[in-house]
């Protein structure tokens, strides 16, 4: 990764008002290709709002550029071929089969009611294999455990084959093994050149698995950089109001909040 490469996503001077309050306030940041970026910050700091604004689901002021192109001028379907979204506690309303859920990720590439193309089927197969779902592919997506369902929804986002994935608290509600499995998937995607922006509450996961962190505080970027640079005692105290235990393990830096300050 060279610092000179054009960013995948460039957010400049972004403001989002919800109910008369500036939830995102003149925020600027950029994401480099092939990185896993952790979006951290306390509740209400604007993490979900930032993700939704990037998806053009909320009206905003300022500019959001994807690979140099302004997202505001992009058609919804074209945007869906650039940016995928993995929602917080994703739902599956109807009991449709696992591979059909994954096929929904191909919607931006399909038109009318035509059957799936070879590229569509290949993308679905690859996503099912990547998320280890081949054995349950014909099961109803409502009849799965929480861990399996999160893998199905992740496979759905993978099948969308976008350069950028936005994930809203993807590890919430998962056991430690599934959390690590998901972060490994993000890292594998980054090695393939994709970019992941994931909002996280778990600072230990953020420290260990993200190449870069964006620390959000009251709608602005308080700090941006590596875990070493962002997760400092002073920043945690100022932004989260907590004191943390810092340690080193064979997997890198360990950050565990231990008390409120």
């Amino acid at each position: 990764m060279s610092a000179a490469a054009a960013p995948v996503l460039e957010v400049s001077d972004l403001s989002v008002a919800l109910g008369g309050r500036e939830v995102i306030d003149a925020l600027s940041c950029s994401l480099q290709a092939g990185t896993v970026v952790g979006l951290i910050g306390p509740n209400g700091s604007g993490k979900s709002t930032l993700l939704k604004a990037i998806l053009s689901l909320l009206p905003y002021r300022g500019s959001i550029r994807f690979a140099g192109q302004d997202l505001a001028g992009m058609a919804a379907k074209a945007r869906a071929r650039c940016i995928a979204y993995l929602p917080q506690d994703g739902e599956v309303i109807w009991p449709i089969a696992v591979d059909d859920v994954v096929m929904l990720g191909r919607a931006p590439y399909r038109s009318g009611l035509a059957p799936p193309s070879e590229a569509d089927s290949a993308a679905v197969e690859a996503a099912l294999i990547a998320m280890d779902l081949v054995a349950v592919r014909k099961r109803s997506a409502r009849m799965l455990s929480g861990g399996e369902r999160s893998r199905v929804l992740m496979a759905r986002a993978l099948a969308q084959q976008t350069p950028l994935l936005l994930a809203d608290e993807p590890t919430t509600g998962l056991d430690p093994a599934h959390q690590i499995g998901l972060m490994e998937t993000f890292q594998a995607m980054a090695r393939e050149g994709q970019t992941v922006l994931a909002s996280l509450h778990d600072l230990a996961l953020a420290a260990q698995w993200c190449d870069r962190l964006l620390l959000l505080h009251e709608g602005r970027i308080a700090l941006a950089g590596t875990a070493q640079e962002v997760l400092t005692p002073a920043a945690l105290k100022r932004v989260y109001g907590v004191e943390a235990y810092f340690g080193e393990s064979r997997a890198g830096r360990v950050v565990v909040p231990i008390a409120r300050t």
Partner: protein, 333 residues
């Protein structure tokens, strides 16, 4: 067999069923005509009695039965898919209640006796008013919840006004006519009714068919559907306008016929792998089959008593609905 193959087989079977019931509907009536004589009379150019009975009484009845049944099944499937709720039905938007109010006004004012088409026209007008109100109340970027609330508000208002009209009706005969009309029937409908309602229904069908893929995506929730490139405001506009046009026209010529739009999609859902898009076509055919069968049943069960369609569908549908609630409740636990 692949899942796609099974779906096409189901569609072929349903199409066959609709064709059989359509022909059966043509062959049943008080005139007691022979099968070959009546079917050939359909295409006869001369105006003998058999040809008139077939072409001007039974044919419009069968066409309306199929088209209105398809409308109810399709719009029910679209509403359930859009609202992501298996208990949604086409009447939820207040369109049927308002169309009924329009029709009842036509009977009450006596317009319908001096100008027969006033009834379906005023019913269509009622449906139009309802859809304008619902869209205004729910707002442009409406969520399903605000749409449901707006529909409930319009429904109750239309229901209250209908009761008021009944309350004020000048004599018992007018009141009886109003009540009978509201029970729903396909008796004595002419080709004029077909030409008046079918274009609206077809336009509604086309609008509802457009949202098929979006309904599939909505299985994963609204935000995910939007992130997949579907414009939710457009989807809602198509669902509301498509339902209003088709159900408004259906109610205008046949009165309010309940339960088909609720139950047909529900029965067919497991057979199409729960895909909201596939459920649209299957429910249209299923609805056509059920309404044709019900219209045959009212003629066979009590030929002299003029049993009303809406009464029959409610008698069969209500127990089914109870079972549905019971089953849903069990699944929730």
């Amino acid at each position: 067999m692949t899942e796609r193959g099974r779906f096409f087989l189901l569609m072929a079977l349903l199409t066959g069923l609709v064709v059989v019931l359509f022909v059966a509907s043509l062959l049943i009536g008080p005139a007691g005509l022979g099968i070959s004589a009546s079917l050939s009379a359909l295409f006869a150019a001369d105006g003998d009695v058999v040809a008139i009975v077939m072409q001007e009484i039974r044919l419009p009845r069968a066409i309306l039965g199929a088209a209105i049944g398809a409308t109810l099944g399709l719009s029910g499937a679209a509403m359930q898919g859009y609202l992501r709720n298996p208990l949604a039905e086409p009447g939820l938007l207040g369109v049927s209640a308002s169309a009924s109010l329009g029709a009842v006004m036509a009977i009450y004012t006596g317009l319908s006796s001096s100008f027969p088409l006033a009834l379906p026209l005023m019913a269509l007008g009622g449906a139009l008013v309802a859809v304008v109100f619902v869209r205004l109340l729910a707002g442009e970027s409406a969520t399903p919840i605000s749409l449901i609330l707006a529909g409930v508000a319009v429904s109750s208002l239309a229901g209250a006004l209908t009761s008021l009209v009944l309350n004020l009706s000048p004599n018992p005969f007018a009141a009886l006519e109003i009540v009978f009309w509201m029970l729903g029937s396909l008796k004595d409908r002419s080709m004029t009714h077909v030409w008046l309602s079918l274009p609206f229904m077809v336009v509604g069908w086309i609008m509802l068919a457009q949202v098929a893929r979006a309904l599939d995506a909505l299985t994963l929730g609204e935000v995910t559907a939007a992130s997949l490139g579907f414009k939710l405001s457009r989807v809602q506009a198509l669902v509301v306008l498509g339902t209003a046009a088709s159900v408004g026209a259906a109610t205008a010529v046949a009165g309010a016929i309940g339960f088909i739009g609720l139950i047909v999609p529900h029965v067919l859902r497991p057979l199409v792998g729960s895909h909201p898009s596939r459920l649209l076509g299957a429910s249209a055919l299923g609805g056509a089959a059920v309404l044709l069968a019900a219209d045959i049943a009212v003629r066979v069960i009590a030929p002299e008593r003029d049993l009303k369609l809406g009464v029959l569908t409610a008698l069969v549908g209500a127990p089914f609905f109870l079972w549905l609630i019971f089953k849903t409740r069990r699944e929730m636990i």
